[in-house]
């Protein structure tokens, strides 16, 4: 082995250690989810799930499926609403450049900075009067506010890169603007649709503040509330709590594996916009 390749292997080892340190809490969550109740308070704690149990996961299947189902529905609804609102807006801002467009972009940027607690309180007051507290559409609407401004900014950035010639060609062929948008711009913007959908789903899946204020008293409660009630009622059964946490993390894990490049595209485009 040459010295230089030895040096890069050392770096890999250090990288593995650093990654291991960062991910240790995640490992611990998985470990605890398999730990038997009687081993939970062992001292020193068992670092490996020897004598592992599936009890925690059995509890998830017994008690948490309705919560998971609600989260899934809310996530899909949020994705659909977000893309439907944000994609046309992104197209208009990127390619049609109407007067007042830059002011609208500015408003969208500001909208992302509003703390969730303030939105939650306003929504609560409105929903109470409208009678839509504890409903799925109500929660979907509120969750979409997490993703719509981000979605418009991502679509704008991405669609600016769609060649004008492509759009012109469609127009020359006699397609109206709506048809151009639907059959030319949207198909070539697939990557940005994936990115926006992933983040919209993940954010609504993770939402706790809207869930607890707008859906906390009803039949349709998402998984974040499932975990929250678990911690409150049931703080002896940490394997069940952690098993629920592991299951609730699956969308994030899938997202990371399947859509890695979209994730970093979303982070950087969301942070350093043009």
């Amino acid at each position: 082995m040459t010295t230089s390749s030895l040096r890069t292997w050392w770096k890999t080892v250090i990288g593995l250690v650093l990654t291991g340190l960062m991910l240790f809490p995640v490992y611990w969550m998985i470990n605890v989810s398999f730990t038997r109740d009687q081993d939970m308070r062992a001292s020193p704690p068992h670092l490996l799930p020897t004598n592992g149990t599936w009890d925690g996961y059995r509890a998830v299947l017994d008690q948490q499926l309705p919560y998971l189902g609600t989260s899934f529905l809310v996530g899909l609804g949020t994705v659909a609403l977000t893309v439907a609102l944000a994609a046309p807006a992104g197209y208009a801002l990127a390619k049609l450049r109407p007067p007042g467009g830059s002011a609208l972009s500015f408003v969208l940027l500001i909208a992302q900075m509003i703390p969730g607690i303030i939105m939650a309180m306003g929504f609560y007051a409105i929903y109470l009067n409208l009678g839509v507290l504890n409903t799925l559409p109500g929660l979907i609407l509120a969750d979409s506010t997490l993703a719509v401004p981000f979605g418009v900014l991502i679509f704008t950035a991405f669609m600016s890169g769609v060649p004008d010639e492509l759009i012109q060609a469609a127009v020359v062929d006699g397609a109206g603007r709506l048809r151009t948008f639907w059959s030319v711009v949207l198909p070539v913007s697939r990557n940005s649709i994936v990115t926006v959908s992933l983040f919209a789903f993940l954010w609504s899946w993770s939402d706790f503040i809207f869930a607890s204020t707008l859906a906390g008293g009803g039949d349709h409660q998402p998984i974040t509330l499932g975990i929250y009630h678990y911690i409150g009622n049931n703080n002896q059964q940490w394997n069940a709590i952690m098993a629920t946490a592991v299951v609730a993390s699956i969308p994030a894990a899938v997202l990371l594996i399947v859509a890695q490049r979209y994730v970093s595209m979303g982070v950087t485009a969301g942070a350093v916009k043009d």
Partner: protein
């Protein structure tokens, strides 16, 4: 070049009327289609912003200016109270300490997230086997639902059977009541928040590092600069605007943090880890008798802070991309 079929007389009239509109980028190569059409594409989002951002915000301001009871909250007719709610909040003995907690929480989180994120970005910017994969894996804490991270940290920091105290015991340190003693609760939630924020800082700073041309480093290496000199004289200055953006976005996000603190400590014990966000939530939703007015007033103070940070962010962004 290509006359669009949609350009109607109405569109032209609208175009003439809109010459006083804010400065626009020069007309694109395609002839600009009707402005009405563009706003047709924008109408859904505009209506949405008005109904689901502007109106809740307006309701929140209204909440903070009236004296609501549970009854009047449902039925309406709460008396106008002027700035009473703000006065109540500002003169509350808890206000000073909560503001201080918010500032300490934000400053400590930012300092550690940024410096650890920067160190990791520099490390992963080197080429070595598995670098890409490991960098992707480090994103996990950022993608996990906050309730998952918060409950995992709650268990790690548990006084009796948490792993952290067990590890401290091995080196002979007495167990610490991380979440249940007023002296440690704020530190505990800061630790969890730092962990969650590191990946974001890593990704953004890493993308900033990639934008620095390699020739800069090659030239300085020829001139005999040490790696430390290269960091201080090339990396840091060229990363300045990206760093500012990272820190300001971090500031905006950290001011908003609510889930982690609420789930780990509910702002307690005795308010020792309460921030403006958790205090506002506690007043509005955390008690049997909600105090929406003062809760909304705190929320509005928080939004002013977030907006000041936000305007700073936009200023820097504008300077970067004129």
């Amino acid at each position: 070049m290509t006359p669009t079929t949609q350009t109607s007389a109405a569109g032209r009239a609208q175009g003439a009327a809109a010459t006083a509109a804010p400065p626009e980028p020069p007309a694109s190569r395609t002839r600009r289609p009707s402005r009405w059409l563009a706003w047709g594409f924008l109408a859904p989002v505009t209506i949405y912003l008005a109904a689901f951002y502007a109106y809740p915000l307006y309701r929140n301001v209204e909440l903070s200016l009236r004296e609501y009871s549970v009854r009047s909250f449902v039925q309406g007719g709460a008396p106008f109270a002027g700035l009473d709610n703000y006065r109540t909040v500002l003169t509350d003995p808890a206000f000073g300490s909560t503001l201080l907690h918010t500032m300490v929480f934000t400053a400590a989180s930012l300092a550690f997230q940024f410096s650890i994120g920067m160190a990791l970005a520099l490390f992963f910017h080197q080429h070595f086997p598995l670098s890409r994969t490991l960098r992707a894996l480090i994103l996990i804490p950022w993608l996990l639902p906050l309730i998952v991270s918060a409950s995992t940290w709650s268990w790690l920091l548990n006084s009796d059977s948490g792993l952290v105290n067990a590890a401290l015991g091995v080196v002979g340190i007495e167990p610490v009541n991380w979440l249940t003693s007023p002296g440690w609760s704020l530190t505990s939630v800061i630790i969890a928040n730092i962990w969650i924020g590191i990946p974001f800082n890593l990704v953004v700073l890493y993308s900033g590092l990639q934008a620095i041309p390699a020739e800069m480093y090659e030239a300085s290496a020829l001139d005999g600069a040490s790696s430390r000199q290269r960091f201080w004289w090339i990396t840091l200055p060229l990363l300045r605007s990206v760093s500012m953006v990272t820190l300001l976005l971090g500031l905006i996000y950290t001011l908003k943090v609510f889930d982690i603190i609420w789930i780990m400590t509910r702002g307690g014990p005795t308010g020792s880890s309460a921030t403006l966000a958790t205090w506002s939530y506690r007043l509005g939703f955390g008690n049997l008798l909600p105090e929406f007015g003062p809760g909304a007033a705190i929320g509005n103070l928080l939004i002013v802070m977030a907006l000041i940070a936000g305007l700073g962010y936009i200023r820097i962004e504008r300077r970067q991309h004129p």
